[in-house]
Symmetry: C2
């Protein structure tokens, strides 16, 4: 069971650490989660965690980046088949909100992320992922609407902020599906309105 090579060992342990960390950070939040608890949940000790991650914040950052990667992957996957740029934007909204149905995702990506990593850091991580996809989509939409070189930078940021808030609105809902529908229509309206100049 235990891997022979060093590279395989590190990959296995970091993987277990990240899985456990995502679990605990997502359930209890960043500050309420100790490194000891994460290591124990991964069947390891604190020493292993600090061997692979310089600090607690670094471990969280890795988890956060993992979530952002998932978001970007899901977005590219679900919007790939959309031909109409506005339909693609709406589909992206739906995909993002569906991810936000997971409380752990909300806790990590929307609540703790900015506070722990700082705004600049979070932005720079997202700028290469979901935010880039959103900006690209809005650029295409603006071009289709007759304004080829619109400045979509600020615009996509505002839309992203609105979507994050929309995602948090799903938290208190008794029935996720109906709540998703209600919020989704408003979100689509907003993005639609923003995308056309």
């Amino acid at each position: 069971m235990s891997p022979r090579t060093q590279a395989a060992r590190t990959e296995a342990t970091t993987g277990q650490l990240l899985t456990a960390a995502r679990e605990l950070f997502g359930r209890d939040g960043y500050t309420a989660t100790s490194i000891d608890a994460v290591a124990a949940a991964a069947g390891l000790t604190k020493g292993a965690a600090y061997h692979h991650f310089t600090t607690k914040g670094a471990l969280f950052r890795a988890v956060f980046v993992g979530e952002q990667d998932r978001v970007a992957a899901e977005l590219t996957r679900t919007t790939a088949e959309q031909t109409d740029p506005f339909a693609a934007l709406r589909r992206g909204c739906r995909t993002f909100l569906e991810l936000c149905l997971d409380p752990a995702f909300r806790q990590i990506a929307l609540l703790d992320g900015p506070a722990v990593l700082g705004w600049q850091e979070v932005r720079s991580i997202q700028s290469e992922r979901a935010l880039r996809l959103l900006a690209d989509g809005m650029l295409v939409a603006a071009a289709a609407a007759g304004e080829p070189d619109a400045d979509v930078s600020a615009r996509s940021h505002l839309a992203f902020g609105a979507l994050c808030e929309a995602g948090m609105l799903l938290a208190r809902a008794d029935d996720p599906d109906t709540a998703l529908l209600a919020v989704l229509t408003e979100a689509e309206r907003l993005v639609d309105a923003l995308a056309r100049p």
Copy 2:
């Protein structure tokens, strides 16, 4: 100098604690600020702080509520003279973004607030303040646009999220004024588009 009556004493000390806390929380962030540091900055000791606030989170909550009160007061003040509902909404955007020019405000209200207090708590505090004002404004605007009983609840939340993100966009700006203008036009566009059905 030292006040005679007990009520005056508590008010003076809590006031000093709140002032110092707003200063340090706003500059260094919540986790990087210790109760000792706040008490020392207020010319007191930890004991005084814990006498008036049950926990560090409670102290932060008081600071946070104070900021939200300021926001609501500024909003009502600046939008009072606006007769056109859409103009009032635009004026509200400007007021909020001007408040966001203060890094301490951004740190407390936008970054640490949700992570420390939790989303539900932050929302319930804002629901009686800025969020209520925004929803009211959007309701009036919707009525003026011919849809008297629109459901502005989700809509105002999304707009609020967009405005918060807009406020954070002001952080990295070299020249605050021009950045404010650039973001403001986009924000006004968004709120305008959202407010009309």
